[in-house]
């Protein structure tokens, strides 16, 4: 029974890295604007789908296609902020949830019309021959996802702690009015937050697509899992969101391995509920849940 453990742990971390990347995007927007962006999963999908179509159908070299795809997703993210979120300042939590859910349905609908319904994939970045670690194996692409997640987390951390713009975004999240009085261009900072979050989504999508494939509706499940991971870790902290992602991946993989693969998602959500009941702010978040 225990000889499967190494593989289950590695599987958990690889799935978890995927969730972590999506969760990070949720946490950044939440921190900057108190909005849970249910269209985060669609950023992931747009990043992957536009790379597929730019490299495959338009025949661009992959690196250029990736750059353009990330740029496109960032534009979508900023458009969402400017034309939907910024116009609805002061709307209730529920209204905001509906707006971002509407945005996610709209973006999915656009992807359906523009790119069709077929399942697409990107080539693996490196070879597809597995790396063997004792009794466990993983693909080079799994490593790419993990290292990518790690680098992005560090970059986000650096951005918020050590750059002027990053600190300014944080300042807006603590107190908008005070930030504005200090001469911070709040509108610009919000744009930056959404651009950053869209950037993370797009990169996540491109890193994951060689393993998990992509299609116009691929963002739904990833968005849901990413949101759960962010809540599990604690919405208030980007690091917490990432830890939540890895934790959720491990829970799913260990449940599938030792309890039941049919119930693995149910077990994930059950643990999430228990965490919320006993530590409403998430495992790594502030204890108070009242941040509305």
């Amino acid at each position: 029974m225990w000889d499967q453990l190494p593989q289950l742990l590695i599987t958990g971390v690889t799935i978890g890295a995927t969730y972590a990347l999506v969760a990070l995007g949720f946490a950044i927007i939440y921190n900057a604007s108190d909005v849970v962006n249910f269209a985060q999963g669609e950023f992931v999908m747009i990043g992957a789908m536009s790379t597929v179509f730019l490299s495959g159908n338009s025949g661009l070299p992959l690196p250029l296609a990736v750059l353009l795809a990330v740029g496109l997703t960032i534009l979508v993210g900023m458009a969402l902020q400017r034309f939907a979120i910024a116009r609805s300042r002061g709307a209730t939590v529920v209204a905001m949830i509906i707006i971002t859910i509407g945005a996610s349905i709209f973006l999915r609908g656009v992807a359906l019309v523009v790119w069709g319904k077929e399942i697409k994939q990107l080539p693996h970045f490196f070879s597809e021959s597995p790396i063997v670690l004792g009794s466990a194996t993983l693909l080079p692409q799994n490593l790419v996802v993990m290292i990518g997640a790690l680098l992005l987390v560090l970059a986000v951390h650096y951005f918020f702690q050590h750059t002027r713009s990053g600190k300014a975004v944080l300042a807006c999240s603590y107190n908008r009015t005070a930030a504005a009085l200090m001469g911070i261009n709040v509108g610009m900072m919000m744009l930056i937050a959404y651009a950053l979050s869209a950037f993370l989504g797009a990169v996540a999508g491109i890193l994951i697509a060689p393993i998990a494939y992509t299609s116009y509706d691929a963002g739904v499940m990833l968005g849901l899992k990413g949101f759960s991971a962010a809540i599990l870790g604690g919405m208030g902290s980007p690091m917490g969101a990432v830890a939540g992602g890895v934790l959720l991946g491990l829970i799913e993989s260990l449940s599938a391995g030792y309890i039941s693969s049919g119930y693995k998602d149910a077990i994930g959500f059950l643990i999430l509920l228990l965490v919320l009941f006993f530590r409403p702010g998430g495992i790594f978040g502030k204890t108070s849940a009242e941040r509305v």
Partner: protein, 316 residues
């Protein structure tokens, strides 16, 4: 308790099948709209008046539907008895989870209710020996009330409209009762309500259970009307659709919830002609309504009509 709206809706519900006999939009879509209206009104009690968001309301709807489906097909219970059993089950479950869940707020509450809804859905899919799994349960017997078989679309239209009007009646009584005023205080400020001496915890959990029971009752009727249930009808996406109905009409407005339910039932019927563009247009409508009319479509129109009416009265 103001009853003019109630009487008018009753009249409209009775008149429609006479004005448009054997009309698909009345007997079929109208029946679905009535089910949705029941669900939206029950959710509105929770969201609009108690201020508690729920992204898992479809789970209670599903518990009612599946209780009826399982008990009537596998153990041949009478439909009414099965409905009562379903209500009991849902009531107990709702009560048990209400305390811990309602301690949460905002997005955390959204996540918790969402998680609850998904867990219930996974149970429906995975316990195939009981629920038939993803393909669901078919051949659910028709409802019979004192020997009167509800077996045609028109009869179902009658039963569902009557049930929806009953839920409207319950809603209006709750809202205009003393506890209803306490509820509204809850929505505006929980702190204020507490200082007024209202036990907000008890109040919220009562409303949570009532909303769950109304949804379960609608589910039970729905199972008999469709003669078929499958987990897809009670998914997370349907929960989101219900929230959309409530918000689209306007939070804390019972008639707004009805409007939202009717509008969102008819909208896809009209959008089918757009085929692949349907998803995109639906998303855009949702987003635009919320951006430009954040208080809800019905409430916004109502307020504008109100102002126009007041201006006219003033001028005359």
């Amino acid at each position: 308790m103001p009853l003019r709206g109630f009487s008018l809706l009753t009249l409209v519900a009775i008149a429609l099948p006479f004005l448009f006999p054997d009309n698909y939009y009345v007997t079929v879509v109208g029946t679905t709209a009535a089910v949705h209206a029941m669900l939206a009104m029950s959710l509105n009690l929770l969201m609009g008046y108690a201020g508690q968001i729920s992204l898992g309301h479809a789970a209670f709807f599903g518990m009612g539907a599946y209780s009826s489906a399982i008990l009537t097909t596998r153990w041949e219970w009478r439909p009414l008895l099965a409905m009562v059993a379903g209500l009991l089950l849902t009531g107990v479950v709702a009560y048990l989870i209400s305390r811990p869940i309602l301690r949460l707020k905002g997005h955390y509450l959204a996540m918790a209710t969402l998680g609850f809804g998904i867990i219930i859905n996974i149970l429906l899919v995975q316990t195939g020996w009981l629920t038939g799994g993803p393909d669901g349960i078919s051949n659910i017997p028709p409802l019979s009330l004192l020997g009167w078989q509800v077996d045609s679309d028109l009869r179902w239209y009658g039963v569902m409209s009557a049930a929806a009007l009953l839920v409207l009646w319950i809603n209006l009584s709750v809202v205009s009762s003393r506890s209803g005023r306490a509820l509204r205080a809850l929505h505006t400020s929980e702190f204020a309500a507490q200082t007024m001496g209202i036990d907000t915890t008890v109040m919220k959990s009562k409303i949570f259970v009532l909303a769950a029971l109304l949804a379960a009752a609608a589910g039970s009727l729905f199972a008999h009307q469709q003669a078929f249930v499958s987990p897809g009808s009670f998914s997370f996406f349907f929960s989101v659709e219900l929230v959309t109905m409530v918000v689209l009409g306007g939070l804390a407005s019972t008639y707004g919830a009805i409007f939202g339910a009717v509008a969102l039932t008819f909208l896809p019927e009209l959008l089918v002609v757009f085929e692949d563009y349907e998803v995109m247009i639906f998303g855009a409508i949702l987003m635009l309504t919320m951006i430009f009319l954040p208080q809800g479509f019905y409430v916004a129109v109502e307020q504008r009509l109100g102002r126009w009416w007041a201006a006219r009265q003033g001028g005359a």
